[in-house]
Amino acid sequence: MIVADLPERELARRLAGPGLRLRTGPVVNRIQSRLTGIAEGVALQYADHTVEEPEGFADFHVRLASPRSLRRWMSPQVHFLFDGARPFLPLPADQAFAMLEWGLNWCVSAHCHQFLVVHAASVERSGLAVLLPGNPGAGKSTLCAGLVNRGWRLLSDELSLLDLATGGVVPLPRPVSLKNESIDAIRRFSPGTVLGPPVHDTVKGSVAHMKPPTDSVRRAMETARPRWIVMPRYEGGAAAHLAPLSKARAFMHLADHAFNYDVHGRRGFELLAQVVTGSACFEFEYGALEDAIAVFDDLARNA
């Protein structure tokens, strides 16, 4: 069963009651919330995701709730609870769905040590994956959204999971988080894409989520072999340009962007060395999505 199969009232009932057991790639999240913003966001963004049995195992137990104080009437807020604890400060209530997304990211990056978790977007074509590590603002989510709207499969927008045994990328297809100018850029680039309502004045500015493509969600169990490591950088007006990046420097970038590289010790080192050895590595500057996608399509054609 997928989320879209659940009648609206049943989805709301599960969220408000025992919890919705939502599978996202290799993990199951038990989500509880009475907030309409959560029900609406889950219904829109996770429509294609599998719903696990109500009594089944869940990796993460999260809840989004309004604090029970007078403030809820004047300046409503939302808390993210993980196993009943509050790892973060509350946010304005209109940011509830964004907080769920950030919270689920945190669940994975802080706990999924069965993988090497890299702060990187990743997309796939013909079984080969591009890893796009980048600092906030580098344009990786925009590039990722552009690529998946032109036929690349979404593996992950934010957290790329590397299998410790094989070095393969384990998909975690979830909504793509677009910020500020990227929201309209993707609207213009792909008018048919499904975007949630933007929320403004978050710590990241304005944020809107793009629904992951149905095909990417359905193929969430298909891993991909890393073939390219590309450090993107958006620069308005710049021509799309790939510049070779040495493997040693690419290694250091990946290590710097990995949440749990240190947790894995030598195993993490060997895994990154394996991934880098098998990948062509580049720095990539771009100013227009169409040009950027053409460069990536060329990479795939010549693989």
Partner: protein, 100 residues
């Protein structure tokens, strides 16, 4: 050959180091510190010379390992660069001078 009074340098044990080389650049993980470092060609070759030797080497010994030419051990520019690399290795815990 090196003067016996010159300090001899020894790397941490081979077991404590994981490293890879791609086109003359190296990444090195030091198991003792848990840190990973990016090394340029000279630093990588110095580390490799120390690891291969398995014993203490003077700066002149290292220079001779890097370049088989007879003049390497007296090339002051090379020797100074190796000294600099060794100082950095000491700071990073990758190598240290042996007690005299």
């Amino acid at each position: 050959m090196s003067l016996s009074s010159a300090p001899h340098w020894r790397s941490v044990s081979v077991d404590a180091i994981a490293w890879r080389e791609w086109n003359g650049e190296f990444v090195v993980r030091n198991e003792r510190s848990g840190s990973t470092h990016l090394l340029g060609p000279l630093a990588g070759d110095v580390l490799r010379a120390l690891l291969d030797a398995g014993q203490g080497l003077s700066v002149a010994d290292i220079a001779a390992c890097l370049d088989d030419g007879p003049k390497a051990a007296s090339d002051s520019t090379l020797l100074a660069a190796i000294e600099e690399v060794l100082s950095e290795f000491k700071r990073l815990g990758l190598a240290e001078p042996e007690a005299q």
